[in-house]
């Protein structure tokens, strides 16, 4: 389980989980689950397109998530945000269908990009992965306060000259970067689970924003480690464990919040 190849995979998965947890904190408090689902999913045809053109996969994924950001933010200004997200997503997937009809890509590779299988990560992949992870985390931390305020109330943000529209675009850029980090390693659908599950548990465990962000990253990393170990032991797909653990995380968070509120009202009544 811990030979060289596996060590690389563990490192890569940990990086991915950390990024997903940090970015996911804002995905959850901004209520942007759909965008976080759509960006990775619509970026995955980018990998196919890159193979078709003959450039690095990462470039294709970055380009397609860039299109996704542009589509969601531009169309979102003209109408409902969820409609904008859905239509940008299907347009990019449609392009994916176009590219796939041109390639002889193995279904197995497509399946892995979609449903996630921690793919073999070579030592040479680690450096760009680490760099990109550092950039996404640094950007999220740099934008921490304006992002937080505009998530609580766009109007309050605008009052102190933080444009909610600019923050929305920057937030989508951060999600796109996280996507580019994670997609080649764990697949589109897994990234998404890692973004929403751990963060939704973290937000109920603490009432401090910065602590919430770090707890989210920690839960995300533990989720990935546990999933890899369980998947290794049972030979079942890792996607199943990540999905199930994320759902458990969400339910545990809701239950914890409920218990807390019950306890609080009991305490108030007893006084």
């Amino acid at each position: 389980m811990f030979d060289d190849f596996m060590v690389n995979t563990w490192i890569a998965a940990t990086l991915v989980a950390g990024v997903a947890g940090v970015v996911g904190f804002f995905v959850v408090i901004r209520g942007a689950s759909f965008a976080a689902h759509a960006l990775p999913l619509s970026a995955f045809p980018g990998a196919a397109a890159a193979n078709l053109v003959g450039v690095d996969q990462l470039i294709g994924v970055l380009a397609f998530s860039g299109f996704g950001v542009a589509g969601i933010s531009q169309l979102g200004r003209r109408g409902r945000r969820d409609v904008a997200t859905a239509l940008s997503l299907v347009m990019l997937l449609g392009l994916g269908a176009l590219f796939l009809s041109r390639t002889t890509e193995y279904f197995q590779a497509i399946y892995a990009l979609l449903f996630g299988e921690v793919l073999g990560v070579g030592a040479q992949d680690l450096a760009p992965l680490a760099a990109l992870s550092a950039v996404s985390i640094a950007l999220t931390l740099a934008l921490f306060r304006p992002l937080l305020l505009s998530s609580v109330s766009p109007e309050l943000a605008e009052t102190i000259s933080v444009s909610p529209r600019v923050m929305e675009v920057l937030f989508l850029v951060v999600v796109a970067l996280a996507t580019a980090v994670a997609l080649p390693v764990v697949g589109a659908l897994l990234v998404f689970s890692l973004m929403v599950g751990p963060a939704s548990a973290a937000r109920t465990l603490t009432s401090r924003p910065l602590a919430g962000l770090f707890i989210s990253a920690a839960i995300s990393i533990v989720t990935v480690w546990a999933s890899i170990a369980l998947s290794f032991a049972s030979d079942w797909p890792i996607g199943f464990f990540v999905g199930a653990l994320s759902a458990l995380g969400y339910l545990a968070g809701r239950t914890w919040a409920w218990v807390e509120i019950q306890g609080l009202s009991q305490f108030r009544r007893s006084r």
């Binding site: 921490f144 304006p146 109007e155 309050l156 000259s161 933080v162 937000r203 919040a257």
Partner: protein, 272 residues
């Protein structure tokens, strides 16, 4: 332009939203430290006027002039504040974001910052619940936290949009007294919108009364009068003073006036 004592001057400003004229020829100015009530029924344009002062909406004609500093010297408490009960944020975090929410980077622990936040929480009497989640606070408590958020930058002008709606009588009196005190202490000009002027009568230096997109402005006694309000509404309205109260009544048969008055809860006003 502004005279020496003026903080804000709105001159002949008209505002349209989506092509519909909402406000016409609004004209008033506020002096430093003044407390002004912006009174009008639902849909009369209070929020729109405040957003125009903030620069979120541009006037189609006329001008809005702010003292040096522009938006940076305005504090704002919005009408709608939708709170996620799970938002991981304490009251003090929101107040701190009023101070440096537009800065990059994570907030590092700083004694100066903490002191400022504590002082502000103390000033709005929010210290007892400073470490609670904002989502778990009551309406009145949230209102205090939002006021602290707006005041922590020591703005010259504080705009509050219906801060008294949804509060019980005691909380209303508490918030009004708080605002009056803070505005005196910090020399902050306050422009506060409300559909009911009653709780504000004792503290207002000036009133901007909105109806049908126009405004009557001045001291309370100069505005809440039969001639002035009749001219504003466009039909006859009686301002009757009974037992120290003011009743604003439309004539029988004035169908339009009746509905206007019914929609307008500001029909009973106490003379200060």
């Amino acid at each position: 332009m502004l005279t020496r004592s003026e903080v804000l001057a709105v001159r002949q400003a008209s505002v349209s939203l989506s092509g519909h004229p909402i406000l016409k020829d609004i004209d008033f100015a506020l002096n430093a430290g003044e407390f002004c009530g912006l009174i009008g029924a639902n849909g009369s344009g209070k929020t729109t006027l405040l957003r125009t002062v903030l620069g979120f909406v541009m006037p189609t004609s006329g001008s809005v002039t702010m003292e040096a500093g522009g938006r940076a010297s305005i504090g704002y408490v919005p009408q709608k504040f939708i709170l996620d009960p799970y938002m991981p944020m304490r009251a003090r975090d929101l107040v701190a974001l009023g101070l440096d929410g537009n800065r990059l980077g994570v907030p590092l622990p700083s004694r100066g910052r903490r002191r400022k936040v504590d002082e502000m929480l103390e000033a709005v009497e929010a210290t007892p619940f400073a470490d609670q989640r904002i989502g778990s606070l009551s309406g009145g408590q949230q209102q205090r936290v939002l006021i602290a958020h707006a005041l922590i930058r020591r703005p010259r002008l504080l705009l509050l949009d219906e801060p008294l709606a949804n509060l019980d009588i005691r909380s209303v009196a508490g918030i009004v007294a708080l605002l009056r005190r803070v505005s005196r202490e910090l020399q902050t000009t306050v422009l506060l919108s409300a559909h009911d002027m009653n709780p504000l009568l004792s503290v207002m230096d000036r009133i901007v009364y909105l109806a049908h997109g126009r405004a009557a402005t001045g001291a309370i006694d100069a505005v809440v009068r039969t001639e002035v309000l009749s001219r504003l509404y466009g039909y006859h309205i009686d301002v009757v003073r009974v037992h120290g109260r003011v009743l604003v009544v439309a004539a029988e048969g004035e169908g339009d006036a009746q509905t206007a008055i019914q929609r307008d809860p500001v029909h009973v006003a106490q003379v200060p």
